[in-house]
Every structure is written in C-alpha cells, then in structure tokens.
C-alpha cells in the first residue's frame, strides 16, 4: 500500500479497511483500555481517513499514516474517555492490587499479586509515558515509529519509554523492600 494514493472508490476503501482494521483496533484498544471505546475510535479513524484521503501523499507507509490518524483520533477523544487502562480483565474478577502477601500465600498467589502490582504501575503511568510505552510493549514498534506516530522526536520517545520502565522498576523495588521475604 505504500507509495501510492488512497483509494477514492468505496470497494477499494472497504478492502483497505478489512486489511488494516485489526491493526488500528489493537493500537486503540491498548491506548483506551476497553473494547467499546476502541471500536468507536476505529470507526472515527476510518471516517477521518476517508475524509482526508486526498492529503495522503503516498510517500510513507500507509500503516504509519493510519497509526498517526488513530492516535490523533484518540487524542481528540481522550478528554471524554475514562482514564485508559492498559489491561482489561476481559470479564474476570477484578484483581485486588493492594494486598499484603501473607506468609500462608502460595507461590502462584504471590506471583499473581506481583503481576497485579505491575499492571497497576503501568496503568498509573502519566499519559506522556504510558502511551509510547504501550506502543513499544504491545505493538513492538521501534522508537522511530513511535516518535512518528506520536509526533515527537525519537529521542523524546526513547526518554519516555525509558522513564516508564524505570518507574515500573522503581515500584517493584519498593514492593520488594516492603515484602522482600514473602515475594
């Protein structure tokens, strides 16, 4: 799809939609943290893509262009969305993220609690760090691609992902300092 104009025809655009729907949905799902809002934003993203189809110059990858539009769509909607969570429990019982590990807890339970803390640490990252970190973690995007999607410099993307990882790492250190033996 790279290096060419976007289709102006409905059938071709449908094919484009089918081809990239999952990618766009996945990015948005990781950013907003729930299926409903992500589906909503997918529709907005493709509507926006259709309206802006004349602006695509074809000099970059369509996937990158789509990710940028998806991210702009997400930014426009962010104020009305609830605070996104990276991880949706998919209908499972909510995990208690603030228990004290007891001496009687099994190894599996301890592991589960530790992961709950990690999830919470990621959820609580500032937006500016969380968003590039999500793209880095889930989409496997290179820092250059993240920078391109978010409209920031690669250096800024690198710093934000590193800070996010350090923040999570710091939370784990605190946890270990408190419950070292049990964990």
């Amino acid at each position: 799809m790279a290096d060419r104009a976007l289709p102006g025809d409905g059938d071709e655009f449908r094919r484009l939609f089918e081809e990239h729907r999952e990618t766009v949905f996945r990015v948005l799902y990781r950013l907003v943290g729930n299926r409903h809002d992500a589906e909503d934003l997918v529709q907005d993203t493709f509507v926006r893509l259709w309206r802006k189809r004349d602006q695509f110059r074809g000099d970059g990858s369509l996937e990158g262009y789509l990710r940028r539009i998806a991210y702009r769509t997400f930014l426009n909607a962010r104020a009305r969305l609830s605070r996104p969570r990276v991880h949706e429990n998919n209908g499972r019982e909510p995990v208690d993220t603030s228990p004290d590990p007891s001496e009687n807890a099994s190894r599996a339970e301890l592991k589960s609690l530790l992961l709950a803390h990690v999830r919470r640490a990621v959820d609580e990252l500032p937006d500016a760090w969380r968003e590039p970190f999500v793209l880095f973690r889930y989409e496997g995007m290179k820092l250059k691609e993240i920078a391109d999607t978010l409209g920031i410099t690669p250096k800024a993307a690198e710093i934000r992902v590193a800070r996010a990882l350090n923040r999570v790492s710091g939370r784990l250190r605190e946890l270990k300092a408190k419950y070292g033996e049990a964990l």
Partner: protein, 358 residues
C-alpha cells in the same frame, strides 16, 4: 539507550538471534542495572500478556458513522459555550450602557450658590486712554474719573490746578505740556486738571504763593507731593520723575477694556464668554469684571437647569425638554450649552430626568 531498550524487549520476547542473545545474557550478568530492567520488563510482559480481543467493527459501521452528523469535539463545544456566554454578557452590558441613568456635567456646578452681586465696573475711559497726543498732555477734568482710572491702573495722579485768566496756567499748557521730556515723565501718571474753585478744599491752597498749583496724589486722592508756580519744563520733568513711579501697561489696559466693551456688545454667549475669558486672567479691575461676568453666565445656566428640573416635576418631560432646548440654544457654543444640550437630549429620548453628576 534506544539500543538497550529495543534489545531488552527483543531479548525478553525471544527475538534476538542465538549469538546475540548469548552476548546480551553475558552483558546482563555483568550489569546489575540492566539486569533489573530486564527483570522488570519480563514482569511487564507477564502482567500484560492478555491478547487484545478481535475487532468487531464492520465497514458498514464506518459508513453509518461517516453519514452521521459530525460529532463536535468537546473543546469546540466548550469554546462555543464560552463565546455564547461572552456574547450574552456583552449584549447585557451594552444594553445597560445604552440606557444610562445619569448625565455628567462638565461646566455647570450643582452646588447652589448665592446670586452674585453687581459685577464690578471699570472706567470706560481706559479703552481710549492716552497720556498725550500731538497737542501735548491730555488731562481728565474730574476727580472721580481720574481716581477710577488711577485705581484700575494702580497709578498715581498728577493734578494741575489752574484758574481762569491765569497767564502762567496758559503758558504751562502751551509750553511745558508740549515738552517731550515732560510728556515722557508724565507717562506713569493719570493726569487731572481742576479749576481752583472746584478743587477739593484740602488741595485749594493759597494761590498768592504762585500759579499754577501742582500736586501728586495717590489713587484715593491723598496728596503725596506738590509744588507751586510756573517752572521750566526741565524742572517739571524732574519733579514728575523724582519718585520713580513705574509706567502702567496703558496699552494692555486699553485692550482689556475694549474687549469687555466688545463682549457687552457681542451677540451670542459663545463669543461673549470667549472675550471674558481672554480678560479674566488680569489681576486688576478688568479681570475682576470679566470673572464676575463669567460667574453670572454660569449662575444663569445653573438657574436654567434647575428651572427645567422643576418644570419636569410639575409639568413633565415635554415641558422640561422645551425649556432645556431653549436654554441650550441661548448658551450654544459654550460648555454650559453643551451640558444643557446633553440633558435636553436625555430628557427627550428617555422621557425622564437624569441623575446629575459633576
């Protein structure tokens, strides 16, 4: 750092080639900080390994969304609401401004002042006053006029007392009064000549000691100096110069007096007020007269305003507007007229009498 981050991820997710993986593992073993980051990222991967659900949005949903009215972003809605609020506020404010309840006066005072007394008079002779002409010195021939001019000019009086048939008096008129030095020396004085028989008793000295009689008087008629008998022009000039009286600004006094006369003749309050204002700064009777006449005009405008207010209370807006219109016309071109016109306009447009402010 980017290399490290991406390598950490690729290592944890098993995407590094075996050789590179082995090298990186050795690096991790040597570097505790790197080891901690790798461990953290491993935990992050474990904690967030739930796969994303599959998308269910169909192309039809996109088409429906595309045909739906565009959703207005919240910031735009907020901005529009803000603009609307500002607009409503502005309209309300403008509306309040457009219906004022007061008029601020710039010239007519609101404090009621007592009616001014008769304005001070000034000697009309000042308008044409000259000490001499081509025929020699010019004398006033009555005491009251000379004193009035002397007071206005803050000048002394040179009194020449003669007697009918007195040859020395005649010679004085024909010779000394035409002498240039005498004329020059007489400039500080108001010149007065009196028949001995009509002179004030205090000044009517024995003429047998010499004719004519000469006195220097202050503006109130009190004698300051004098001599008797006909003396040469040089002696007369020396006598007049002896006291060193300053020469009054006869030209300025004449001009001021002429302006006051012109003001009295002027048609229209604007011209009259302008002339009075030109003279009002003078620190003499002319300035006093001008200021008194300005105060009269001000009082007259105030009377007209208060009368219109009474008219409004007694007969209503139309009668008050008529009176104000006439008053504004009478004072047209003056600041009083402007004040009256503003009130006139207000009463005519709003049908009410405004609160007056200074």
């Amino acid at each position: 750092m980017s290399h490290d981050l991406e390598r950490i991820r690729d290592y944890v997710e098993g995407r590094l080639p075996p050789a590179e993986r082995e090298a990186f593992a050795a690096e991790i073993a040597r570097d505790a900080v790197l080891a901690e980051l790798v461990e953290t990222y491993e935990l992050v991967v474990c904690a967030t390994s739930d796969p994303a659900p599959a998308a269910t949005t169909s192309f039809g949903d996109v088409v429906v969304r595309a045909r739906a009215p565009r959703r207005v972003p919240r910031p735009l809605l907020a901005a529009a609401a803000l603009l609307l609020a500002v607009g409503i506020f502005f309209l309300a404010w403008s509306s309040l401004r457009m219906t004022p309840t007061s008029v601020t006066l710039t010239s007519i005072p609101l404090a009621v002042r007592p009616a001014p007394g008769a304005p001070p008079e000034w000697p009309r002779e000042l308008a044409a006053h000259r000490t001499a002409d081509e025929d020699g010195l010019l004398f006033y021939d009555d005491m009251a006029t000379a004193q009035a001019v002397a007071k206005a000019a803050k000048a002394p009086i040179f009194l020449f007392i003669h007697f009918p048939g007195c040859p020395w008096c005649k010679e004085f008129r024909e010779v000394q009064c035409r002498d240039g030095d005498v004329i020059k020396a007489a400039e500080p004085y108001v010149l007065l000549t009196l028949d001995w028989r009509k002179a004030p008793a205090a000044l009517r000295e024995d003429p047998n000691e010499g004719w004519p009689l000469f006195d220097i008087l202050d503006a109130d008629g009190r004698k300051l100096d004098g001599f008797k008998g006909l003396e040469p022009a040089m002696t007369v000039a020396a006598f007049l110069s002896k006291r060193g009286f300053p020469r009054p600004d006869w030209e300025g006094l004449g001009e001021g007096a002429r302006k006051l006369e012109e003001a009295e003749e002027a048609k229209g309050a604007a011209a009259r007020l302008a002339l009075y204002r030109q003279v009002a700064a003078a620190g003499n009777v002319l300035g006093d007269a001008a200021r008194a006449r300005i105060a009269e005009m001000e009082k007259s405008a105030q009377d007209a305003l208060f009368a219109a207010r009474d008219e409004f209370l007694r007969k209503g807006a139309a009668a008050a507007a008529d009176r104000l219109g006439a008053a504004a016309l009478a004072f047209r071109g003056t600041p009083y007229g402007d004040d009256l016109e503003r009130i006139h306009t207000f009463v005519r447009e709003h049908g009410s009498f405004p609160d007056l402010k200074e």
